[in-house]
């Protein structure tokens, strides 16, 4: 008998489609009837069976709800609109028999029923497919604008925050939310286990506690996740997304540490443990927007001048220019590049004859990202001219005549992320230059030394 009841519950997803079909058919006929007199008897027949099948659907749904461990909060909207749909079916049926509110228009009942049906169906679909099923395929930018952005697929950690991370909220919970909670939550509680909250984890599932504090490796949580992927009891199930190696290490460490909740990560290898989760700087180096193709006559003339002119990739119109084969390149030659000024994102003038004068024309290159002036005679005297270059990110000034008195001008270039000053005049002038703390991350003077150590000479 129990089996039959369970089966009845499980056919709910099938049965619900019967009233949907009947109701839609009936509603279509109602609309059609306004033009051509359709048979009232047929309409009555349709809505009678709509009502009957809706009742069956509601009952099977209730059985299903009782047996599968859904929470009331999750099904309440679906239940409400399903009941409303059923009720409206019967009201419409009696209205068609002229036994109920005979003066009210039939189309009023029809319209309400249609809306109720849509909502009941939608909330039912959310239960089986997940809340974000419909919006998931929309473009990410669109979702973000509407404030629907879904949780990131990977946990991301800001390296500077590492000392204030707490175990559960910052690390373990995000992992479990991604990989476990879809089956172990109050709505759907496989194996009687819920993993959506810290307290629920400690409570365990139908086979008891899942964390063994005295012997972490004997924990059910540990063992089930460590079984071979092909094993029936392996978690997450082999068809679902698995924990990566680094995520496993993190979970293992957590269990070994006694599954703490609000404790800080007081481990000496915390950095190594978390490094794989550090935010990656995936943003593209070059501007993202599309650009018109550069004029081929302009390209040709630069090539004839023996410059290397290359798109940053085969499908890009952003250009990289290098004067590696044109050591005679001088300040006034920059004018030759002006026709392509918009296109140039990388400009390498290292080992050429350029001097401070070249800076005066550089502001005409609004999209420069990388500027290399290594081994040139620039001194930095007029570096405020680089201010308008909003995209400038990398500035190479090694082996130049850059003087320490102009450092302030570099500090003011706030959007530049990396500045290289190795072996410039500045680094030869004074042995130690104290950069402000904020600048140390951006400005690299280098002069690295490797001290002599005893093993340098040891012969074994």
């Amino acid at each position: 008998m129990e089996v039959l009841v369970e089966l009845f519950g499980r056919i709910h997803p099938l049965v619900v489609h019967l009233p949907i079909g009947f109701i839609l058919m009936g509603l279509l006929l109602l609309v059609y009837e306004q033009k051509v007199k359709a048979n009232q008897k047929v309409l009555q027949f349709l809505f009678f069976w709509s009502g009957i099948s809706a009742l069956i659907a509601v009952f099977s749904g209730l059985v299903h709800y009782n047996l599968e461990g859904y929470s009331f909060e999750s099904v309440q909207l679906h239940l409400f609109f399903s009941l409303l749909t059923t009720l409206l079916c019967w009201l419409l049926y009696f209205r068609l028999l002229n036994k109920f509110l005979p003066t009210t228009k039939v189309s009023f009942f029809g319209g309400t029923l249609f809306i109720a049906l849509l909502l009941a169906g939608h909330f039912g679909g959310n239960l089986t497919h997940g809340d974000d099923y419909l919006v998931e395929p929309l473009p990410q930018a669109f979702k973000e604008r509407l404030g629907w952005s879904s949780a990131p697929k990977q946990i991301e950690i800001d390296p500077s925050q590492i000392e204030i991370l707490v175990w559960y909220d910052d690390l373990i919970n995000p992992l479990l939310q991604q990989k476990c909670v879809s089956c172990h939550n109050p709505k759907k509680t496989k194996g009687g286990l819920q993993l959506h909250q810290y307290e629920a984890i400690l409570k365990g599932g139908e086979h008891g506690e899942i964390i063994n504090f005295s012997n972490p490796e004997k924990s059910a949580f540990w063992q089930r996740t460590h079984l071979p992927l092909t094993h029936k009891k392996h978690m997450p199930p082999s068809s679902k997304t698995q924990f990566s190696q680094v995520e496993m290490t993190l979970l293992e460490t957590w269990v070994k540490e006694g599954a703490p909740k609000n404790d800080l990560l007081a481990l000496n290898n915390a950095r190594a443990l978390l490094m794989p989760f550090f935010k990656s700087n995936e943003e593209s180096l070059y501007p993202e927007e599309e650009l018109q193709a550069p004029a081929s006559t302009a390209l040709k003339s630069l090539l004839d001048f023996n410059l290397i002119v290359l798109p940053v990739n085969q499908n890009s119109n952003w250009l990289e220019i290098s004067a590696v084969n044109q050591p005679a390149f001088a300040d006034q030659d920059l004018e030759k590049l002006l026709p392509l000024a918009e296109h140039i994102v990388v400009l390498d003038l290292s080992k050429t004859q350029v001097s401070d004068a070249v800076l005066t024309k550089l502001q005409n290159f609004p999209n420069l990202v990388v500027l290399k002036l290594d081994y040139t005679a620039v001194t930095g005297a007029n570096f405020e001219l680089l201010q308008p270059l909003e995209r400038l990110t990398f500035l190479h000034l090694t082996h130049t005549l850059f003087e320490s008195s102009y450092l302030e001008k570099l500090y003011a270039l706030s959007n530049v992320k990396e500045i290289y000053l190795f072996n410039s005049k500045l680094s030869q002038d004074s042995a130690s230059i104290n950069l402000p703390e904020a600048q140390e991350k951006r400005i690299l003077i280098g002069n690295f030394k490797l001290p002599k150590i005893a093993s340098d000479e040891a012969v074994y």
Partner: protein
Amino acid sequence: MDPLLKLLEEYKTNRAQDNSRRHFLHNCTLGLGGIALGSMLQGCKTGENANPWYDAQRALNPLATLPPPFSPKVKSVIYLHMVGAPSQLEMFDYKPELQKLHNQPCPDSLLEGKKFAFIRGRPTMLGSQAEFVRAGQSGNWVSNYLPHFQKVVDEVAFLKAVKTDQFNHGPAQLLMHTGTPRFGRPSLGSWVTYGLGSENQNLPGFVVLSSGGTPDAGKSVWGSGFLPSVYQGVQCRSKGDPVLYLKDPNGVSRNLKKDIIDAINDINFKTFAQQKDPEILTRINQYEMAYRMQITVPEVMDISTEPEYIKELYGVEPGKESFANNCLLARKMVEEGVRFVQLYDWGWDSHGTDHSTAVDLGLRNKCREIDRPITALLLDLKQRGLLDETLIVWGGEFGRTPMQETREGKTMKYKGRDHHGEAFTMWMAGGGIKKGAVHGATDPIGYQSISGSVSVHDIQATILHLLGFDHESFTYDFQGRPFRLTDVHGGIINEILA
């Protein structure tokens, strides 16, 4: 007329008469249609550049620079190959369990179904001869054989479970550098030079520097295989003439050489005007390049002009052939716009047959020889702003066993390890690499991988990816089919990418 020639002439005439206009139209109409269709559909084009304008450049100069298919993370590669296969167990793969099993007989389970290059009978386990420390902020393990390297360990990403299916040096080196254990395929550097060209027109795009000896697989590991030979690696020597046969012969002045080349090129140009064969232009280009290289190569190859503190940083010995010199040269080359610099260092085959191949003696000396130079190379590239646009790859052709080698079943006087390809360590550093990452792990004795196993083709795919190529669509047509470096294998190792 000679009767035989007459017969031949008659045969040719008959053959020619067979090929009448009527015959041609009758037999070849479908073929003509096919040719026309092919040119309309462009369907069979493979491995060609999407930008015809850059193709035109290539037709004039086979080393002309080309844009990569995707925005690259790095512009150049420095590949450090330790010829002979360095022992991961004495350098990077810390195995305290193996220490405990030191000198115990190897259990059958490790030997069953396995074939070794030299181990016969039942060997004993050999604990690591080095001491390990957690280095840097990443806390990654490095042995005391590499004290300097410990300071830059946060710059590199380790692959702790690289797998190769070759256990002899030659084939394993070929696999590592050409994607197959057999001869005849282009090397990694050749592929890259073919795909991207060479920036500095006065220098080769692909330079090979070796110290200690030539790899077992010979020059094929930097050969161009079926690619045009202009893409093969150019071996530069840090002692004597940098490039063999580049210097003018005795009694020939540079002016005379120029006259000779001009005269040859003049004739070649005239032939080109008649024949329109682009191969002739290639040849003209090569003559000119060789002439330019005569000046630039000796300049770049001269490390004595470097400032004293740089020489100290690398620990170079000008005038000698050493790995340290080659590291400094590699930095100079990359700074000058050389695309691919391949370093080979000979002498890592630590079998324990003598003092120099003992893992506690000779290997330690080899580690000392590379420790400072590699550390210096990373630091020097960094301070010049080049580390972000250069990829540094370190590795051997395979790894070494956790068992002590028992050559022909005999106990040996020195401690050594046999060839082992199941799981060994390599590392990468530079642009696009996740600093301080570790991917892959081996079992407690360092014998097999337990996770994150990567193949040689995975490494090649990753290197190509960082240079802006999709290893699956980067092909060259040869013998009727497109070939790729990674054959039908390989996947990008995302775990070590930033």
